[in-house]
């Protein structure tokens, strides 16, 4: 200990010199424009190399994440396929029934732009009219509803996501068929609001909210979220329900566009004059 102290006293001027020299370097780099640029350019050539390596490792992790989500999806589909196979084995239908014909077609797409921090959030996907995407189609993932296609170009489509103040999607409870409209009132990107739900419907927290069978946009029973809170809003005779979304819209990579093969037929019938 004494030796150490003696050493420190003996070389105190040297250590002081080092400290002050470092401090002047700090001053030179921080308060002189030319030196600052040279310093950061030089260090950037080194840190740039490091950053490149880091990005490589990071992207390999991300692609692993994508693989995980895809394999989950495959597992789900395999299970579904198994159920249908069993169903077909037990029900051999000689008559061609419209119940078993394909009504929806899915177009998978990758998200290339996404926002969740504005009032009117949009998502851009890399499939467009060339791939069969049309205006007004629904967009879903394996977890839940994402939004509705608003504009289509040749290779891209712009989706009005659930987190858009103009979005109106009809939804119902999975328990009963009482239905209302999903809107977004901003602020929280994980919560949407279900309005116009009749007051006699029986609600409970954590009930699942799904798409209705009346919609021509989404298939019946696609998950949206679970009930977080329900209340009557200032004298209204309808419930207002806060719905916690199943899908985290700020972290979506792949979506599926739902193409209703009979939509035009249904629409034309709906729009026909009743006279």
């Amino acid at each position: 200990m004494q030796e150490l102290l003696a050493f420190l006293v003996r070389y105190s001027h040297f250590m002081l010199f080092c400290i002050l020299q470092f401090f002047s370097f700090y001053l030179i780099i921080n308060y002189n424009q030319a030196q600052k640029e040279i310093f950061f350019n030089t260090t950037n050539t080194f840190t740039g190399q490091f950053q490149k390596k880091y990005d490589e490792v990071k992207s390999s992790f991300i692609s692993r994440q994508i693989l995980d989500s895809l394999s989950d999806r495959i597992k789900d589909l395999e299970e579904e396929k198994e159920i249908y196979r069993m169903y077909l084995q037990t029900h051999v239908e000689p008559v061609k029934d419209s119940l078993y014909t394909q009504k929806y077609e899915l177009i998978s797409a990758k998200i290339i732009y996404n926002s969740v921090n504005t009032w009117d959030n949009f998502i851009l996907i890399d499939k467009g009219s060339k791939d069969g995407v049309q205006k007004g189609m629904g967009v879903i993932t394996s977890k839940g509803v994402i939004g509705i296609v608003r504009n289509v170009s040749e290779h891209y489509a712009k989706i009005m996501s659930l987190l858009n103040s103009q979005t109106r999607i009809s939804a119902c409870l999975s328990k009963s068929n009482h239905f209302g409209t999903i809107t977004w009132r901003g602020i929280d990107p994980t919560v949407t609001t279900l309005i116009d739900l009749p007051s006699h419907a029986k609600l409970a927290v954590n009930d699942t909210v799904v798409t209705t069978q009346y919609s021509q946009i989404f298939p019946q029973g696609i998950n949206i979220g679970r009930i977080e809170k329900f209340y009557f809003e200032g004298g209204s005779n309808f419930y207002t329900v806060d719905v916690k979304l199943f899908e985290d819209l700020s972290n979506v990579q792949f979506v599926m566009v739902v193409k209703n093969l009979y939509k035009s037929e249904a629409d034309s019938l709906l729009n026909q004059s009743s006279l």
Binding site: H13, L16, F17, Q21, F23, S24, I28, Y31, I38
Partner: protein
């Protein structure tokens, strides 16, 4: 009059000349200033041998920082003067005559003679100027220009220092 007050007054006078006269000298040619006169290291070159090393380091940094405020280049002069006054300790040891320095001797022309003073001043000013111009350009890419600047500056500064020493011939 205490020799410390004498050193302080002389230091302030040299600094005043440096920042009022020599700072404004320039001989620009194609954006290259051929005339950079820096004589303020003389203050620290003339300090007595017995001075506390810690004080020498601290003072040189503060004076360098003061010069930086007038040259608008924070840290550059401070760094150079700091390095110079630290290496002064080593140079004094290196130039020590066989018998050692006597108690009343100072690093001046009066006590040490022309040859010793020349070697002493030349090594101190070379270190200071080389470091100063390196810090100013901050890259070894222009090493030839740093070297040219140093040599041109030394060609003016060393004669200037000796003229001052011959004129005043200080004992302290």
């Amino acid at each position: 009059m205490s020799i410390y007050i004498q050193h302080i007054i002389r230091g302030f006078i040299i600094l005043l000349i440096q920042i009022s006269v020599f700072k404004n000298l320039s001989w620009d040619f194609h954006g290259f200033n051929y005339l950079v006169v820096l004589i303020y290291p003389l203050i620290f070159a003339l300090l007595p041998f017995q001075i506390n090393k810690v004080w020498l380091v601290i003072l040189s940094f503060l004076v360098g920082l003061g010069v930086d405020f007038f040259y608008d280049s924070p840290g550059v002069h401070a760094s150079a003067l700091l390095l110079m006054s630290y290496t002064r300790i080593l140079i004094v040891k290196w130039l020590e005559p066989r018998g050692g320095y006597t108690v009343h001797q100072n690093p001046t022309l009066y006590h040490q003679g022309f040859q010793w003073t020349m070697r002493y001043m030349l090594s101190l000013f070379t270190i200071h100027h080389l470091w100063y111009f390196s810090m100013l350009s901050f890259t070894l890419f222009y090493f030839d220009q740093i070297l040219l600047h140093t040599i041109l500056s030394l060609l003016v500064d060393i004669p200037l220092v000796f003229i001052l020493l011959f004129l005043f011939n200080p004992k302290y």
